[in-house]
Assembly symmetry: C2
Homo-oligomer: 370 residues x 2
């Protein structure tokens, strides 16, 4: 395999600005949309997303990892470097938790101009029951130094990005990494972690957008400075153009989504349903915060009514909501929005950024009632 | 829910011809690409596709079926109509079989002009181990009449297509339906059938494109004439324009695919790898026929060399192949093609049709060797 750092240039997609202004999509984006996998929004009906329906973003390729020879290296600023088999990791305390995860690019393709990469609309979400061990215990076993500032997680997946060969690699600050909910996970929904979700071992960072939960973990390294790698410093930043430093993308912004009611038109996915009382249901989440209010609109966000809130199956899982809508004959645009425990309300439209990150503008569902 | 037959018209996508001539993609197609799920081609390394990586085409929505109250009705030209629970169906003889399934639209988006619907490139494939009971035994139990000509399978999924509300519904001739490999399946890869693959019960018609394997079965009806429904008579036909009768799409055409070697560029998915001996691997299949030859080209199909063939895990599963490629520095286009037991060779380019069905033109993989 090529070495990390080796430079490559490929053909230009679009006009070379990295974003699309035409409102149409390129074959390269469609290719990504077909490799990556959204959760069809009718699956919002499930508290825990059935296996095989959770969203899936594979940054490079799904690597071919042999679990028998695989090891997790824990090194850097530690007094007792570790080299662990999966069986070793299973001797640490076991913890299971339902966690809602959303891709940081969810909503990207609803913006114009649109960054030329995975063109998510609203389906890059899911909730799974993850089983593993708290990262904190493994770092303790390794004797994490008081000088450590950040923890770097290196995936075994490799590809070319930003003109160079790289592994996928992200860091968390020590204080974020040692939170009790952060897991090294080896099971998903009660089964061995499947290859596409990071087998044999992945990080789960509840509350964060999915980019933090590094898959196919090969190494964990404690370092004494702020990490300077590509996937923290260049990618996943709020920018207004291709250059600059900006702010990092971190926790999931508040958002509610609904199961589109009725039945779909095959191509446009416009919904059709009969007049009368229509149960609307869905889920809402807000990073590490709690969703305290969900409102529904049937007039494209002009007026809002409170939905009823249910209870989450875990502190880091989405909260169910429901609303009885009296549907009258005609065309409607249904919307839903969440408010979190900090009092922040999900916006009708979110401010644009160059990378197309964290667009939590409200869902719009076109409905025809007959 | 609206009634089958109720007419609806929706906004026009594109120029109204039903196909795209621009080479760019619409948001409606991207929306479908994000709902439906391709198998990333690196998963061709597995004989049986891991759960959650099999391709998935959901024609309308995934319906919310309550297994406890669900029944399978078997009626029409039978002497003993049946109304079966899932537990009843599990008392019939159990059969498991690994079956390769490909969507009839696989390859559609490689053609120009391109039909405006799900824009598959090459990833609409997968192989699963299905467990259920042969349909034949259930039809015998129902006392299938000698007057029966076709068997109609009705799914519980509903939507608007061709301007009308419909259920998804397809038929097989009696002779195709009573073949021993045709299953009513309630398990996939050893687990209960997941919602998105047709729970609680689906048809599995090995050798056919996926449209024949009706999901979320509600009813099976024996009829005395050729079935005249939309999904047999209008959709899934080889046509040169929007009108006409054409020939039906039936069994999967011969095709070989490879795992793209090396590592990818993030956006273009161009492959990068080091010079030297490179193991190329993949799978090949051919409807009900056997693949007898697989050839590889590293010069875009100018010259071909024989790959080594392995054995299928079942008669209806894809056949593995491998080839040691001596990769030299430079740019290459890798191709692979299958020949079946009838001596038919997969074409470099397949003849176009309006619906974008059964495009088995050979895969092209752009590779840069350093």
């Amino acid at each position: 395999m090529p070495q990390d750092g080796q430079p490559f240039q490929f053909r230009t997609v679009g006009d070379g600005t990295g974003v699309d202004y035409t409102g149409t999509f390129s074959q390269e984006e469609v290719q990504l949309a077909l490799r990556n996998r959204g959760m069809p929004l009718e699956a919002l009906r499930y508290s825990v997303t059935p296996t095989g329906l959770h969203y899936l973003l594979t940054h490079f390729d799904i690597p071919d990892v042999d679990t028998a020879s695989w090891r997790l290296n824990v090194g850097g600023l530690v007094s007792n470097p570790l080299n662990l088999t999966l069986e070793d990791i299973k001797t640490f305390p076991v913890r299971s938790s339902a966690v809602t995860m959303e891709c940081s690019g969810n909503g990207r393709a609803l913006w114009s101009p649109r960054r030329l990469t995975q063109p998510w609309l609203l389906e890059a979400i899911g909730t799974a029951e993850w089983t593993g061990t708290p990262l904190q215990g493994v770092l303790e076993e390794a004797g994490l130094s008081a000088d450590a500032v950040e923890i770097v997680f290196t995936g075994l997946d490799q590809g070319v990005e930003g003109g160079q060969v790289r592994h996928y690699e992200r860091s968390l600050t020590v204080s974020d990494a040692i939170r009790e909910e952060v897991l090294l996970a080896y099971e998903m929904n009660g089964e061995a972690l499947p290859p596409q979700h990071g087998a044999p071992l992945r990080l789960i960072a509840p509350g964060w957008y999915g980019m933090a939960s590094v898959k196919w973990l090969g190494a964990i390294e404690a370092i004494g400075d702020a990490y300077d790698g590509f996937h923290n410093r260049r990618a996943f930043r709020f920018l207004q153009g291709p250059d600059g430093e900006g702010e990092p993308v971190t926790l999931m912004r508040r958002r509610a989504l609904m199961v589109p009611p009725g039945i779909p038109d095959l191509l446009t996915r416009t919904r059709v349903l009969d007049a009368g009382l229509v149960p609307l249901i869905g889920k809402a989440w807000a990073g590490r915060s709690k969703v305290v209010r969900v409102e529904v609109s049937s007039d494209a966000g002009e007026t809002w009514a409170d939905a009823e809130l249910g209870e989450s199956v875990s502190p880091y899982a989405w909260r169910p909501w429901s609303y009885e809508w009296l549907a009258k004959t005609g065309s409607h645009v249904l919307c839903v929005r969440a408010t979190d425990s900090e009092g922040e309300v999900q916006p009708l439209e979110q401010d644009w950024n160059y990378g197309g990150y964290a667009n939590n503008g409200v869902q719009r569902v076109d409905v025809i009632v007959t």
